[in-house]
């Protein structure tokens, strides 16, 4: 080791010229030979040392970096397996051909082992995940896991089927397969991937070298090295977030290239590329020689040429299928590999395909690109198509009948697309295309639906329903309600008032009036719908009615009534749809919110967790239904005093909403308010007020006049009181009181607003108004919560303060004797 003193002497000496240096060193080291020796050795080395080391790395050849990680000796025995040659190198492990070492019977296998140079915790965890994934997958078209363990040196390994076969593209070329035969092979891939998805696993690296075809023509899927497990309870970091950036960009979805979160549709995209390659012989997008940034750009914007531009006989349905699978936006792709497979089967059976005919789609897409419309509008068009197409199919019985109906519906869907486009094209010519807002186009469409489709009420009503959803997604509550009223009239005339269709439109009216804060109308609509469903004996309709009624009673503060409503709905849904249905999740989420308000926190948490579990069965990744549950869970945790957990859940919901809807979305209103309450609980009042004010901005931006702003102002008032700013609390509480008076006169929170306002006025000496407010506020709370409740006691404490102040004043006004 370096002696401290030697270092000091050396550093000094090294700056001196040779002669002075020798003398200096001798002087400094005196008669300490060890010190002298070390200083001299350092000085001797100093001539070359720096240059030598700085050039060292450059002297090693490129080969050092380019070469494989440390290989294992052949014939090495691991567990029951003897290694033969190395057959591959995945990103996360080396693969060897192996044979049974005990030679009891002949078995060849592929052994994958973590490379020694890479034994970090993360790489190891990732490796074990792959092993776990394989263990979960037992399918004819997926290479099986045979064995696994840890070597004597503690390195994990596992053993899989050794698949002797050709990559699928090479196989198709070698055997000169027809388009039909190639698609049959693709269907086998679909089966395997579908199976993986059902087991909550996304492959994420589907490419020809991972899809082998054996001599007997069987497809085998390999390499789950970067696959992702969708654990319902795994909230931890995604181990593959970096390594998911693939070595083969050609087959990766745009979102994956960009390193964003992916869902099952990323596999849909990869299969789309495979089909494109197998049928046309080319890959859709060429990334040769591009940097990652350029690839991302290209993948996100460049639409690949239609396959028919390479091989004209692929024009039509196959072009459409591949275009749908390769959509840039995951939401525009087939929603599952299963539906992609169905469409391929439709094509093979010469049945109409689900994928929209390119002409209309491309026109619509081009129009949308030209007009830069929002997501809401794309959703509008898609919903219009899918609802109309879906309607009749469900009622058709036989396969033939279904096929005919599909054809019919497709024609109708095409007409609808054309109709939508005619709305676009006939939009007000005085407005430059770029300035055309989604709102204006919807308005335009509404007029046309009324005038041009009057002779086909069913289509008219469906379109109105779709438009109301589009308005809702734009948060245009009044317009949405107007459209639904139109739909109601049409349903009334076409279906009669004793029909499921009529009950359905009432439920949606109840929902939209609830969003707008008109609880009275909402309750009336919901009750009417419930009566109709009961008369018809329609169980899901009844459940929907109970849920709605429960929800409005809940908002109005009638907790027991709400509880009864939700429980009835829950029972009906479970009976009719089973325990894992989305409707059950929805109702449980409502019930959780209610139990939270009823301060039955553990029960509430149970309901939320059950709702989350169900929804995660149905959705992967970001989804508004997930954020909704997170929000309720966060609020419950906050009320339980688990502030860190609550904040974490809020932040997750916030980020998810941001990704889903962009900044300043209305969904984050509740999240921001909740974060404010967490800050307030922690005593961070300034931060809390910032957040409540943020909530008010969002309300004013999206639903001005909604009673929600009453809650936010009440919160601002309370936070200001807590930080002793009565002067600022007064205007906020007055705002809150005015809003409650106008919109929710009977809500218990109004009681709290009133006594707090009174308490503030006490400071300014306005005793008459203070007394009136405090007394009436305390009464409301006592009636709602009983006299022992904390909320009531706070109000009573204010009342006591009032009396004290008043008696002090009375004493002061008694003249001294």
């Amino acid at each position: 080791m370096i002696l401290e003193r030697a270092a000091e002497i050396f550093l000094e000496a090294v700056t001196l010229d040779a002669e002075t240096r020798a003398r200096f060193v001798t002087d400094m080291c005196g008669n300490e030979p060890r010190l002298l020796n070390q200083v001299n050795r350092l000085l001797e080395a100093a001539n070359e040392s720096e240059d030598y080391f700085l050039n060292l790395a450059g002297k090693v050849s490129l080969g050092a970096l380019a070469t494989d990680e440390k290989g294992l000796p052949a014939d090495k025995v691991i567990g029951q397996w003897r290694l033969r040659e190395r057959i591959g190198r995945g990103g996360m492990g080396a693969v060897y051909l192996a044979e049974r070492a005990d030679e009891q019977f002949e078995q060849r296998a592929a052994l994958k082992i973590l490379p020694t140079g890479l034994d970090t915790d993360q790489a190891r965890a990732r490796f074990l995940v792959e092993r776990q994934i394989l263990a979960r997958l037992v399918h004819d078209n997926i290479a099986r896991l045979l064995d696994g363990g840890v070597t004597g040196e503690g390195v994990p390994f596992f053993v899989m089927d050794y698949v002797e076969g050709l990559p699928i593209d090479a196989y198709c070329v070698r055997h000169k397969l027809s388009t039909h035969q190639r698609l049959e092979l693709v269907l086998d891939i679909v089966k395997a991937v579908q199976y993986a998805h059902r087991n909550l696993i996304i492959h994420r690296d589907l490419k020809p070298s991972n899809v082998l075809v054996t001599q007997s023509g069987q497809v085998r899927l390999l390499d789950f090295g970067i696959a992702k497990m969708l654990e319902p309870n795994a909230g931890d970091a995604d181990l593959t977030r970096m390594t998911q950036r693939p070595a083969t960009p050609t087959f990766s979805s745009p979102e994956m290239l960009r390193g964003e979160p992916v869902d099952i549709t990323t596999d849909v995209y990869s299969i789309g590329v495979l089909i494109y390659l197998l049928l046309s012989g080319k890959t859709p997008l060429d990334y040769a020689g591009m940097s990652l940034a350029e690839m991302c750009e290209r993948a996100s914007t460049d639409v690949p040429p239609l396959m028919s531009s390479i091989r004209p006989e692929l024009r039509g349905d196959l072009d459409a299928i591949v275009a749908k699978a390769l959509a840039k936006d995951p939401a525009e792709r087939y929603e599952s590999v299963e539906s992609l497979g169905n469409d391929i089967r439709n094509y093979l059976a010469a049945l109409p395909v689900m994928a929209k005919a390119p002409s209309g789609v491309y026109r619509a897409r081009k129009f949308l690109a030209r007009h830069r419309l929002g997501v809401a509008f794309v959703a509008f068009a898609v919903i219009a198509l899918s609802t109309i197409a879906g309607l009749a199919v469900r009622s058709a019985i036989t396969a033939e009948e279904q096929a005919r109906t599909v054809a019919l519906e497709r024609d109708r869907a095409e007409e609808t697309v054309d109709f939508l486009i005619s709305i676009f094209d006939s939009a007000d010519p005085n407005i430059a295309p770029g300035e055309q807002t989604a709102f204006q186009i919807l308005e335009n469409g509404r007029a046309q639906i009324a005038s041009e489709l009057s002779e086909v009420p069913a289509v008219q009503a469906e379109l109105l329903k779709t438009m109301s959803l589009a308005y809702q997604s734009l948060r245009l509550v009044d317009e949405s309600r107007d459209v639904l009223e139109q739909e109601r009239q049409i349903r009334s005339a076409a279906n009669g008032e004793q029909s499921t269709e009529y009950a359905d439109v009432l439920i949606r009216l109840a929902q939209v009036t609830d969003i707008g804060g008109d609880y009275e109308s909402s309750l009336a609509f919901a009750k009417q719908a419930l009566e109709i469903s009961e008369a018809l004996g329609d169980l899901p309709g009844q459940a929907a009615g109970h849920t709605r009624v429960g929800r409005i009673l809940h908002l109005q503060g009638d907790f027991d009534g709400a509880n009864a409503g939700y429980r009835q709905a829950l029972e009906l849904y479970v009976r009719d749809y089973g325990a894992d249905a989305l409707q059950v999740a929805q109702t449980r989420s409502h019930l959780g919110n209610l139990l939270n308000h009823q301060e039955r926190f553990p029960e509430a948490v149970e309901e939320f967790e059950e709702a989350l579990r169900i929804r995660r069965l149905h959705f992967e990744g970001d989804n508004s239904e997930i954020t909704e549950v997170l929000l309720g869970l966060a609020s419950t945790l906050k009320n339980q005093g688990k502030l860190d957990e609550a904040e974490e859940a809020y932040v997750r919901a916030f980020e998810m909403n941001d990704r889903l809807y962009g900044p300043d979305n209305s969904y984050n209103l509740y999240v921001v308010n909740g974060l404010g309450l967490v800050a307030q609980e922690r005593g961070q009042y300034d931060l809390a007020i910032d957040r409540f004010e943020h909530a008010i901005r969002l309300i004013e931006m999206h639903t001005p006049g909604s009673p929600n702003s009453g809650f936010a102002y009440a919160n601002i008032g309370k936070a200001n009181m807590l930080r002793d700013r009565m002067d600022l609390a007064v205007p906020a509480l007055r705002n809150a009181e005015a809003i409650f008076e106008a919109r929710l006169p009977g809500h218990w929170l109004r009681g709290e607003v009133r006594w707090r306002l009174g308490r503030c006025l006490l400071e300014t000496g306005d005793y008459a108004e203070a007394e009136q407010l405090i007394t009436s506020g305390a009464e409301v709370l006592e009636e709602r919560w009983g006299s022992d409740h904390k909320l009531t006691r706070d109000a009573q404490a204010a009342a006591a303060l009032l009396h004290e102040a008043r008696s002090r004043r009375e004493q002061a006004s008694v003249p001294p004797d």
């Binding site: 050396f10 350092l42 050849s61 080969g63 140079g117 970091a237």
Partner: protein
Amino acid sequence: MSGDVGEITKLLRAASAGDRGASDELFTSVFQELRALARSHRRRWNGNDTLNTTALINEVYLRLANQTLASFQDRIHFFATASRAMRQILINYAERASAEKRGGNALRVTLTGLSLHEDSTLEDLLHIDALLSKLEDTNPRHCRLFEYRVFGGMTIDEAAGALDVSPATVKRDWTVLSAWLFSEMNAKKASQQEGSAS
């Protein structure tokens, strides 16, 4: 999407904040990227077999960071990680090459591009690694400094930023450290020559 920072930037920040998992993950990605890039360089080999490790790390940085400008601190942290990864790669290689030379474990791996003049360099590398491992216990900062300068190609100023000490201190440490390591290597070579002479 608002405020979108690259994945690597997130990892860098988590790692700087002491997140062990992020740190491991960062190391793994850098390690793999370095090798992937080296492989692609070799595929378009242009006759120049030596390589500029600093340029390589820079290239990896640009690829991983996707050219989004991370902060100076993020950059420094990245190069520190890359230095460590580069050390690991070179040492793995040297170990393997020397094992093959000894013929001991009958490694059936063909080394490509191993030229004669490299032989002594590889031995030096192994020796340096052993010395650094010893130094790790008593003076880890010196180890990092060596990695940054030698394997990561950092300048004195950059290393100072990464180690959070003044450039003057880094300069002094570097002079002493390199002289000491070099003298240790000289000493070993001298003793080996004596050994083979006797």
